[in-house]
């Protein structure tokens, strides 16, 4: 007979059985038995003490995004749990697999407004794949295995386990085992064979096809399958922000990022293509612009693992349900080889226009203050286009997405759906644990840095090698841009009074350098990359610069402005 151990220790064993080696957390009253058990497992479970629970959730996200494994986060009840809410919602929107374990008061006290009691399961149900309260030690192993199966399978997402204190203390047997079947849950829908044939027929018949590559390709580990699919039929492809590293930036079929601040060519051609092929993306409003006019001329095929995404925003002629790791090669096998040379050439005039009017002035400005785009591009080039790009949210994010270049898969860590400011710093910490052999470059603004600036403490303690590139423009830049363009230059509470970031970095013993002159940029970046461990590179960038091109809200996706002056006409 197996020996009885505490529910808290069962959690440790179940986590190890799930292959967990790293967790991000913060202790507190209602999770103390678990932390006590963890004390004896420190040699097998690397617990990273963050400085705020929100950061634990974002770090788990960053870990998951680069590693492909489920991120784990451990916090206490009440405020500890509610502090993770932003990260949980973020993971739900961006299909990131994380398991958040929250302490809870004992079951005998539930509902009595006990100290640090909070109804975490009810709060998190709408923003999780599954939320469950563990009320007995007997349930622990089942719940943990179920949580990992649900978080990581099908379309991934967050799971919350609310762990009542008595269940942590009670004794039960731990029975090894895992779960990969739940009767009511079909993670990968069956693929209709007819849909594969019909998709191939539609693609073979298309004269002007355009593929939209989403994060589903990365999540499905189908990067190679996508490439074979595109190359066989000569299909030009644009990427969503989360799909950016699913296709190398310099691949001849890559026509750039889609959407609001995407490439001119991909958005113009969305309105001219005769067949739109979406793969693992969800037609977010930042991609489609005005929905009523979006690609009306085109037939549409939607490859997705989540049936609820089909016809949710954009009605399609054909859905190819299933795992794109299987569906893409199945369709590829039926494709005729094609080049679509003329159609692909037709993107070039827009590429040239964007290069001349937007890109060159952004990455090779002759004079004036530093620009965000040139900083991003030089960091990318000097890391061999091989680094992990982590961003915060705002102009820094859009500039990073536009000017960073990708050759490696799983290289994008950003908050796309929720647009969570403060995501960058903790997510970058998580990424350094998820991809310890890679360079992790974080681009963030002076607003976002201050939202989770306490995590410099975690970086200090862990010596996490985050290369922090602070694009400091003394503004909440993206909101300021919208105020300039759509609110008559009324800069309502967007100028940002900043602390001395050099002094802050010094206080945390993090090497720091500020660059203001273009002539010093390369050397500063080299110093950052060459310095082992963390580094803060502060770039004093042009204050009132705008992310261009831009599809203004409510406009057709091909109606893009190249400069802010165009808007006044």
């Amino acid at each position: 007979m197996t020996q009885k151990i505490t529910g808290a220790e069962i959690l440790m064993k179940a986590l190890l059985d799930e292959g967990v080696k790293t967790l991000f957390g913060y202790p507190g009253g209602a999770i103390m038995p678990v932390y006590d058990a963890l004390y004896d497992y420190r040699d097998r479970l690397n617990h990273i003490l963050v400085r705020h629970e929100q950061a634990a959730a974002h770090a788990a996200e960053g870990f998951a995004r680069v590693s492909g494994q489920t991120g784990v986060c451990l916090v206490t009840s009440g405020p500890g749990a509610t502090n993770t809410i932003t990260g949980i919602a973020d993971a739900m929107m961006d299909s990131t697999p994380i398991v958040v374990i929250t302490g809870q008061v004992g079951t005998q006290m539930l509902g009595s407004d006990a100290f640090q009691e909070c109804d975490v399961v009810d709060i998190t149900q709408p923003i999780t794949k599954w939320a469950y309260q563990i009320r007995s030690a007997k349930d622990v192993a089942w719940a943990v295995h179920r949580a990992f199966y649900i978080a990581g399978s099908g379309r991934p997402g967050p799971v919350v386990l609310d762990f009542a204190k008595n269940a942590q203390l009670e004794m039960a047997e731990y029975v090894h085992g895992n779960i990969d079947f739940i009767r009511s849950y079909v993670p990968v829908p069956a693929t209709a064979k007819s849909s594969i044939i019909q998709a191939a027929d539609m693609i073979n018949a298309a004269k002007r096809p355009l593929v939209l590559v989403g994060q589903g390709v990365e999540l499905g580990n189908a990067v190679d399958e996508l490439r074979a699919f595109l190359e066989k039929a000569g299909l030009p492809a644009g990427c969503t922000i989360h799909g950016l590293s699913a296709l190398p930036s310099d691949h001849p079929l890559n026509v750039g990022m889609l959407g609001m601040h995407g490439s001119l060519g991909s958005n113009k051609k969305t309105q001219e293509c005769d067949l739109l092929i979406a793969v693992g993306m969800r037609f977010d409003d930042r991609i489609t612009g005005k929905l009523e006019t979006y690609a009306r001329q085109a037939k549409k095929i939607h490859f997705d693992i989540d049936p609820a995404e089909i016809n949710k925003n954009v009605e399609v002629e054909l859905a190819v349900l299933g795992d794109c790791k299987q569906t893409l090669p199945a369709v590829t096998a039926l494709l005729k080889e094609a080049e679509h040379t003329e159609w692909r050439e037709s993107f070039r005039e827009w590429d040239a226009l964007e290069q001349q009017r937007v890109i060159e002035p952004q990455i090779h400005p002759a004079e004036g203050p530093l620009k965000m785009g040139e900083v991003v591009r030089r960091v990318s080039e000097l890391t061999g286009d091989k680094a992990v790009m982590v961003t915060d949210v705002g102009q820094n994010q859009m500039m990073a997405a536009r000017y960073f270049r990708f050759t490696q898969r799983r290289s994008v860590v950003t908050s796309g759906g929720m647009g969570t400011m403060g995501y960058g710093l903790p997510a970058a910490i998580g990424a350094t644990f998820g991809a310890p052999d890679r360079t992790v470059c974080l681009f963030l603004g002076d607003g976002g840095l201050q939202m989770t600036i306490e995590e410099l403490g975690t970086i200090m303690e862990q010596q996490s090698p985050v290369k922090i590139v602070l694009l400091n423009n003394n503004y909440l830049g993206n909101v300021r841009q919208w105020q300039q363009l759509f609110f008559r230059h009324r800069y309502s509470f967007t100028p940002m009074m900043n602390p001395d970031y050099e002094k802050i970095a010094q206080a945390y013993d993090i090497p720091v350098r500020t660059v203001t002159d273009r002539a010093d940029l390369d050397e500063a970046i080299r110093e950052m990359i060459g310095t082992p461990g963390p580094f803060l590179l502060q770039a004093a960038v042009m204050e009132e610069d705008n992310v261009m091109p831009m599809c203004c809200p409510g406009h057709d996706v091909d109606d893009m402005i190249l400069t802010s002056e165009e808007l006044s006409h």
Binding site: V121, D122, Q125, P126, K129, W130, A131, Y132, Q133, W142, R146, I150, G177, I179, D180, F181, I182, R183, S184, Y185, V186, D306, P307, A308, I310, N311, K312
Partner: protein, 210 residues
């Protein structure tokens, strides 16, 4: 949605056209959902409606013909495109087994209503007992203070008796169960789903996880 799960005649439901001013193809749909009997599923089911700004007209939760499986009957006014997505979002919930939507001609529906009226009014106005008979209501209890009338039928029928009794100014309480429904289809999708999943489970030699 409100806390009251059944149609309340005291706050009459606005006409369908007023509910969804954007579209004129709005109609009443009945959604039948089956879930595992686990805590918290009801919340996650109703949450799908809340997010899509749909008011639940009636909601009935009960045991189903299968052990450990709960059955939800929900009615709401919306258009077909929305309800199609809603049903998929319901099925996406981990513990939901099956969800399907129906229009009224595809299902057999029934509502159960109870009316508590003042005995004094019943005695002094003979039209009241006449109306009860005409509407096929059953008087199930009478004492010196009140009488209880029971009626089952289509929602519009139970509502019609309510309107009638209200016009006599005798009504003390009224409650409706909300509709329950069974499909008229010759197929049983839940049974098919369960059968399929059981076959898959056996083929994969997996333990049963409810």
């Amino acid at each position: 949605m409100t806390g009251n799960h059944s149609t309340s005649p005291h706050t009459p439901a606005p006409a369908p056209a007023e509910k969804q001013p954007a579209g004129n193809d709005t109609k009443l749909f009945t959604i039948i959902v089956f879930s595992e009997n686990l805590a918290g599923v009801l919340n996650s089911v109703t949450n799908v409606f809340t997010r899509r700004q749909l008011n639940i007209e009636s909601l009935n939760v009960s045991a189903s013909a299968y052990e450990h499986i709960h059955r939800y009957t929900i009615t709401t006014y919306t258009d077909e495109r929305t309800i199609r997505t809603v049903v998929k979002q319901l099925e996406k919930k981990i513990d939901v087994l099956h969800a399907q939507y129906f229009t009224n001609d595809e299902i057999f529906i029934m509502d159960q209503a109870l009316y508590k009226i003042a005995t004094a009014k019943l005695v002094e106005n003979r039209e009241i007992s006449k109306a009860i008979r005409l509407h096929d209501g059953k008087i199930v209890e009478v004492n010196s203070t009140y009488a209880i009338i029971s009626k089952e039928g289509l929602p519009e029928e139970t509502l019609a008796l309510y309107e009638k009794l209200k016009s006599f100014d005798c009504l003390l309480q009224y409650v409706s169960s909300g509709v329950v429904a069974v499909t008229k289809s010759l197929r049983e999708p839940l049974a098919e789903f369960l059968y399929l999943r059981e076959e898959e489970r056996r083929a994969m030699e997996k333990p049963l996880d409810l």
